[in-house]
């Protein structure tokens, strides 16, 4: 019986390792596809009872990624950006922290937008984050369907392509993009930026979360016009931004909260500072981060 139990444990462990490794490979492939593939299509974004239809275009040109997201629901809402190509330099760190708090399961094959896709589930090991379910295009790895599911097994948010065309850029374009990425100065990123240097510290981070990287240009943008500190926590799949700014005038202590799909925003006060937390995590996780924020400066 002991031998059989041993065999069972070894087999279980091996199968979990296989599943995790296969899952990580799929996630890496997904990240790569999101940045390096050319794709355009119609995407439906569902949040509770709200349904938004959007037109998405992503193109790699001259080493620069151009991405445009337009709402097709009548209003003039769009988001577009131009970024240099993505680098996977920070991914290994994310993968390690991710493995501690998610178990990855590779599921069945499905069909989304007339394309075969592989189901991948990142199952949280605690209640501090949402379950994430992907369906990744079999050929390219692009996520064709993505949903975040809460503790009550309800989808808080879902993205799904209804039609999409995907193409791989020509090899010389990819090579150019890679060289442009390598040439970009690494000092533009704040390595594991934390509030330790300032008046604020966190006594204990939620399990699996670590300080994420932010570009310097962003810090300048946040501080523009007001003395606001911004740091970011990530578990590899979800992230929480914490913004801290001093309150000049005496204000009643009002806690505000808004929610949009998986995105939660909390604003609370502590030691004459306004603390705003934004992230795709349950509100309890944010509350825990807030509770563990300690002010060491004078009032």
């Amino acid at each position: 019986m002991i031998k059989a139990t041993g065999v069972v444990f070894v087999a279980l462990f091996s199968s979990q390792v296989f599943a995790n490794e296969a899952g990580i490979n799929l996630l890496l492939k997904m990240n790569d596809a999101l940045h390096r593939m050319n794709y355009s299509g119609t995407l439906v974004h569902i949040k509770g009872d709200d349904v938004n239809t959007l037109r998405v275009t992503h193109e790699l040109k001259n080493g620069v990624v151009t991405e445009t997201v337009d709402s097709l629901n009548g209003d003039d809402h769009s988001a577009s950006s131009e970024t240099q190509t993505f680098s996977l330099a920070k991914v290994p760190q994310s993968v390690d922290s991710m493995k501690a708090v998610y178990s990855l399961d590779v599921g069945a094959m499905k069909k989304v937008a007339m394309r075969n896709c592989q189901v991948l589930i990142a199952r949280p090991k605690d209640k501090m984050r949402y379950l994430q379910k992907f369906c990744l295009d079999k050929l390219t790895g692009l996520p064709l369907d993505y949903s975040l599911i809460n503790q009550e097994h309800k989808a808080v948010e879902r993205f799904t392509f209804t039609e999409v065309s995907i193409s791989e850029p020509r090899s010389e374009i990819l090579a150019k993009a890679d060289s442009a990425g390598t040439a970009s100065p690494p000092q533009t990123v704040i390595e594991g930026h934390s509030p330790e240097a300032g008046n604020w510290s966190i006594t204990q981070l939620p399990k699996g979360f670590s300080f994420g990287q932010l570009p310097l240009s962003q810090e300048a943008e946040v501080k523009k016009g007001m003395d606001t500190e911004h740091f970011m926590l990530t578990d590899g799949l979800s992230s929480v931004s914490v913004f801290i700014s001093p309150i000049a005038t005496t204000q009643p202590k009002v806690a505000s909260a808004i929610n949009s799909g998986a995105l939660n925003v909390l604003t609370l006060q502590k030691n004459n500072h306004r603390i705003t937390l934004v992230g795709e995590v349950p509100r309890n996780t944010m509350q825990k981060i807030f509770d563990n924020l300690i002010y060491s400066g004078g009032n």
């Binding site: 979990q16 296989f18 799929l26 990624v65 769009s78 330099a89 570009p215 806690a255 949009s260 925003v265």
Partner: protein, 220 residues
């Protein structure tokens, strides 16, 4: 208004006419109530007597019939196994032998399940490997430093529309618990700005944050 007594419920239970809720309730009562147990025995005997039409046999049994059987079982000493006597088996050994089969079966079943899981995982792993080979983009080779991210128009696209928001009722995915208040227009503007920053910078992926940004701007 009719009043149904315990006895009537018990009678219905004996006759198999009680509902599932009543069955559970009566079972609970039988476990604790001595009087109920006596009545149950009586009712059972009466029922048996009526059904079999055999008054003689039924009258042999008494309400303490079950307790008599239990006493007899308690008095029954287990047979002790003596060395070298293979024909005599102790009660404990017999029980252990009986348990052996379920244990083995459980062991084999567990091992078979694990083997099945392992096989499925291995298949998935292989299929993933196959997928990896199909796309030639060297995702793991790129070890370049993280690149500069330009400030985009996303921030300006998520506008804090103060007057509109003050008049518009919150949408149904917008919730406020007792401890959290609705943000005023000024606070909403600030929150919108922070949301834009978060979606712009605090993600390793690109597509989902931008979709969220557009959806969010349609909400607030």
């Amino acid at each position: 208004m009719s009043h149904i007594t315990k006895e009537e419920y018990l009678s219905a239970f004996v006759d198999g006419e009680a509902g599932s809720f009543e069955q559970h309730r009566i079972c609970d009562q039988l476990a604790t109530d001595e009087v109920m147990r006596d009545k149950f025995s009586s009712f059972s005997l009466i029922g048996e007597a009526i059904r079999n039409n055999s008054q003689t046999e039924a009258s042999i049994a008494s309400p303490s019939f079950l307790s008599g059987i239990q006493d007899a079982i308690a008095d029954d000493e287990p047979v002790v196994l003596t060395q070298g006597d293979s024909t005599v088996i102790s009660l404990d050994a017999a029980k252990a032998r009986k348990r052996l089969f379920p244990k083995q079966a459980f062991g084999y079943a567990a091992a078979a399940s694990v083997a099945a899981v392992a096989a499925i995982s291995f298949q998935n792993y292989n299929s993933t490997q196959e997928m990896s080979q199909q796309t030639t983009s060297a995702s793991l080779e790129a070890e370049a430093p993280v690149n500069k991210v330009q400030v985009s128009s996303i921030i300006s696209s998520v506008k804090p529309v103060k007057t509109k928001l003050a008049k518009t009722a919150p949408k149904n995915d917008y919730f406020i618990t007792a401890s959290f208040k609705a943000p005023d227009a000024e606070m909403r503007g600030l929150m919108n700005k922070y949301v834009a920053h978060h979606l712009q910078y605090a993600s390793s992926s690109t597509l989902m944050p931008r979709v969220r940004a557009v959806s969010y701007s349609t909400d607030f």
